[in-house]
Amino acid sequence: METWVQWMWLIPVLPMVAAGVSGLLPRTARGWSAGLSIGSLALSFVLSVISFAAVWQSGGERHLYGFRWFQFGPGAFGTLWLSWVLDPLSASMLVMVSGVGLLIFIYSLGYMAHDANFTRFFCFLSLFAGAMLGLVMSNSLVGLFMCWELVGLASYLLIGFWFQKPAAAAAAKKAFITTRVGDLVFFLGLVWLFGNSGTQLFYDNGSGCLEAATLNALVQQKVWWDWSLSQVIGLLLFAGAVGKSGQLPLHVWLPDAMEGPTPVSALIHAATMVAAGVFLMARVYPLLVAGPEGVVQPVLMVMAWVGGLTAVFAAAVAVAQDDIKRILAYSTISQLGYMMLGLATGGVAVGVFHLLTHACFKALLFLGAGSVIHACSEEQNIWRLGGLRRWMPVTYVTYGVGMLALTGFPVLFSGFWSKEAILHATHAWPVSAGPFWLGLAGVFLTAFYMTRQMVLVFGGTPRGNVTSGSIHESPPVMTVPLIVLASLSVVTGFVGTPAWPWLQGFLEGQQAILDWSRLFGADVWGLAAISCAAVFLGMGVGLVLYRRIAAEGVIQRDPLEQLPAGLCPALRKKFWVDEAYQHSVVPALAWLAYWCDRMDRWVWAGLMRLAACVTLVVARLSQNVDEAVVNAGFDRACEGLRLQGGRLSLWQNGQVQRYLAFVGAAMAILVSLWWWGGNR
């Protein structure tokens, strides 16, 4: 077991290596790139399943392995650790990410078959898969943050995969910058946590920052009002999750991210990366709940309200969208809101249960949408589709399964059980009944918009210019993943039913007992009846409104336009959030940038020029002194010496007699000196 944990690094590294190799391959090496990526991820999947089995065997124990990465200063603060953890949470995330990822990789073989940059696509996908796998098993703040940024980078690269489209390039930029806002706050939280606890490791045999000793110390420190330090750090970390998981008010990037290829939307912007925020909250859950017993911590209240509002807000916006992927994008935001809500009110098990089921059925829905788009020559507007059930039976059935799972159709579908768990937890929440009603409203809206989409796309007769002749069912390489995901969307629900809460027990380290009687308890069905009523109401309204319209072969006006008092434009325009940002944050930043530019251009550049001028003047002065005084003086002295030397050299004329004459004259002078003056 311990030796197994040591080898877990292979799980993220294999896809990373595949990405590196694919990046070096030429563009024509399509088979190599795809084979490497799929092969490495399949290996990772096998290793993940083995890890999962290992944790299961050991009864949900936590196993760690880490090593000192490098040392850049003295003591604990100067050491970077690379560490990973194998516990129920990371094991189930590993299996989910690698499994869903593998299916989507295979699906991409068919979906991207005609793309010129197939090799690059698989390179980026593998990079993403490696980073995401690294993220979920990381046991250190540094490793988590690095992988967190790497998945952000992969998301940016893949949203902008078709960067020749201006919309895609803009969407990639928007996604990157918007999540960066959250990441900045997230990073502050990490640094604060590290600085205060002195350790980067989540778990470290008692001294990690999520373990009792550190948490107690954090709870003792009050920052403001009655918020303890652990709550403030939790709030900062939550801001990172808000950015990554598209919660209000940083949700704006996620719908635009649908500009990327559909498998990317399925993998990154539905199943895995956007759930990283939820995963992060689940990972640091001990920090969030640390505090006095029996008191709901304020950060959990924030999470619950943000999640609940996001769930309803995004579901309401999804109601009035026309783009098949955009509807699913808002649906994803809404479901992420549910996960946050479940996490805040019910704990790790509730939130992560929904995360896992949602990953399956939302990936399924996106891949189904991709199949539709692929078949109907890139048409994404649901008003111009229609009647597709006749030509695409497999896509129709699997999409239907996904839709029923998403709406929470009773009993048979996984979404029902995870959504029920969240609603139960919300109902039992002692603080406020608000989130429960928000969740219930979301259930109704979800059922409505999914029915609307389903009826308009698959029901009725074809509209618009999608001719029936060109529509074809997708190849098996695309439909098989759909079928697998559809069966998973049904099956995953049964590991978390009230009768056999296996997943909850697994995540919380307890044994699950099969007890059918719990399934029929009044507390289960009392609430379930209300939520089922909401589901049926939503579906019924959807059917009534759209069935007749879908049957007619021409494009109709949306009945939503009859909603009272400007509600429809508000929904269509997504409550003008983008416009509000466009007129508040963007001008403010542009103004700031303008003034920074001015400052740079005039003030700082002026100072620089002044310094340059002063330097130039000094240099010119120095040059003149050198040339006019030092050089000239030296030159004159040299010239004089040379002249005199020349003159003296004339005496040396080679005439022996002249030399002798000098000697004689000198002799005469000496004698006369001696004679007249020297002999006193």
Binding site: G654, Q655, A661
Partner: protein, 103 residues
């Protein structure tokens, strides 16, 4: 005028004559002759001072002169050999034309 003064005057005249010959003659042989004259002026001084000056009982002055004559003979031999070498090289024995060492 004592005999010593007369000898000294004669010696000085001889020396001046030799010097004038050395400094003014163009022919190298003539220059050597001048040098011989100057040497002999010095020899005359040795003998004069030995005979009339502070000379001792021994024949120191005479011995000096004999040495000087011997050295002068050697000098004359070397000087003439040099003159012949110069003549062979420059095809002239005129000292004013031999000025390769001009600065």
């Amino acid at each position: 005028m004592s005999p010593l003064t007369g000898y000294l005057v004669l010696s000085a005249a001889l020396f001046a004559t030799g010097l004038a010959g050395v400094l003014t003659r163009r022919n190298a042989i003539a220059v050597l002759i001048g040098v011989e004259l100057m040497l002999n002026a010095a020899n005359l001084n040795f003998v004069a001072f030995w005979r009339y000056g502070a000379g001792g009982p021994d024949a120191a002055g005479l011995v000096f002169v004999l040495f000087t004559i011997a050295v002068a003979a050697a000098e004359a031999a070397v000087g003439l050999a040099l003159v012949i070498a110069v003549y062979r090289h420059y095809r002239t024995a005129h000292v004013d034309e031999v000025k390769r060492l001009r600065g």
